[in-house]
């Protein structure tokens, strides 16, 4: 470590301050480290100075701690030393995307009978790139195959497809039959399975496949906030700084064919069989929610993980407040502790409001 040469944070290492602690998010390596707020302040105030100089600023009373801080930063390659500090500018935190809609959820269950191909054609004109098809109750593999075939034949703009479906007897054969035929499929999640298994992509199968014993009965099961869903990459981080990290440029169709921001939300914008998606997107009521960034949401705005985390506007602690904390988040940024959100007595009223009692019961 060069203590007599000024230090700089690598531009892809972004500091986020929370109420009790901070994080350094390395957006190139998808790596996040928790740091004390003291170190955050020290870095913000002293970037471009030498470590010797910083020690002197603190009258050499905290040399050991400053040494330890910088050794940690240097060992993890968050900082480098240079005399040319001005030639390393900050990265832009702007976010842009050329698509009109960049991701979509289509829900189907055993009673769904709306025209999905019509929706896929419209998603194509909106340049949609990523699609998740969620199949609750009985697996409707014929519909899934029709969707995937249409995407292949129409050379759709949709680049990746994730599928959520329940376990059925011949599911292994079905997965084998589609994995090479439909290369857009990159994630298959199977619930109500007799076993738990995680199959990462390999040379034989490019899709990530997960089996879980859990049962997911409907869209009521969505909206969980967990470290498992953190994304520390440039696109997700900058999107979160400027827009809603779940709903921005998202359009969904619920199991009844109703157009929504997200299938779990109460507000619908008409049946997909009679209303054009393009018309819904030009409705400011539909798009205004895209602008609710984490910095505007209660509690989240104090959280050190806010820009790598997902959000949920469908289930919130206070259903009457559009800026309320996601209901299914068990993290407390003041104590830095995770707890089970579903057993929190303060959330009982909201759980009841959304009829989430069934999904909070433990198996």
């Amino acid at each position: 470590m060069k203590t007599n040469i000024p230090f700089k944070l690598f531009a892809n290492c972004i500091l986020v301050k929370g109420i009790s602690r901070s994080t350094i998010c390395d957006l190139q390596r998808n790596d996040v480290r928790v740091i004390p707020n003291d170190l955050y302040d020290l870095l913000i105030e002293n970037e471009g100075k030498t470590i010797i100089g910083i020690k002197e600023l603190y009258e050499n009373k905290f040399d050991d701690i400053i040494e330890e801080y910088f050794q940690f930063l240097y060992d993890n390659e968050f900082i480098f030393f240079t005399k040319q500090t001005t030639i390393f500018p900050k990265l832009s935190m702007d976010w842009s995307d050329s698509t009109i809609i960049n991701n979509s959820i289509i829900d189907i269950d055993e009673n769904s009978n709306y025209d999905i191909v019509n929706i896929l054609k419209q998603l194509n004109t909106l340049h949609c790139r990523h699609l998740e098809i969620r199949n609750f109750n009985n697996a409707r593999v014929n519909i899934l195959e029709d969707i995937l075939s249409f995407l292949n034949e129409s050379e759709s703009t949709i680049q990746s497809v994730e599928i959520l479906l329940p376990f059925f007897k011949d599911i292994e054969e079905w997965i084998t039959s589609i994995k090479d035929k439909f290369l857009r499929v990159d994630f298959i999640r199977v619930f109500k399975s007799p076993f738990n298994q995680n199959r990462v992509p390999n040379k034989d199968c490019k899709a990530h496949i997960m089996f879980t014993k859990q049962n997911y009965i409907s869209e009521l099961c969505c909206g969980k906030i967990s470290q498992k869903f953190f994304s520390a990459n440039m696109k997700a981080f900058t999107e979160s700084m400027n827009y809603n990290s779940c709903l921005n440029k998202k359009l969904s169709i619920d199991k009844n064919g109703i157009i929504k921001n997200c299938p779990s939300m109460q507000n619908g914008y008409g049946s997909s069989d009679s209303v054009r998606l393009e018309d819904v997107i030009s409705d400011s009521n539909f798009t205004k929610i895209w602008n609710i960034s984490k910095d505007k949401i209660s509690v989240c705005k104090d959280c050190e993980f806010r820009h790598i985390c997902t959000d949920c506007r469908a289930y919130t602690e206070n259903p009457e407040d559009e800026f309320s904390k996601p209901l299914k988040c068990g993290y407390n940024p003041k104590t830095n502790e995770w707890s089970d959100w579903s057993t929190n007595p303060l959330k009982e009223k909201a759980i009841s409001f959304y009829n989430l009692q069934a999904v909070t019961e433990k198996p």
Binding site: R129, S160, L183, R184, R189, T212, Q214, Y216, A236, T310
Partner: protein, 61 residues
């Protein structure tokens, strides 16, 4: 240098010009197809940068 009309060019050169143009056209077309093919392959494997919905991740259970 004196400029000459295209029909005044020696026959061999003229033919060569035509062939060359055709080759370029063909090459451009192939190049375009190649780019499109690479693009298509890339499109089919690109992953989304964040979870679309938040129902389950394997190790949450």
């Amino acid at each position: 240098m004196q400029l000459i009309k295209i029909e005044q060019l020696p026959l061999t050169f003229h033919k060569a010009t035509i062939t060359e143009t055709a080759t370029i056209k063909k090459a451009k077309k192939e190049h375009f197809i190649l780019i499109k093919k690479i693009g298509s392959d890339k499109i089919s494997t690109e992953k989304f940068y964040k979870p679309i919905s938040k129902i389950f991740s394997f190790d949450e259970d």
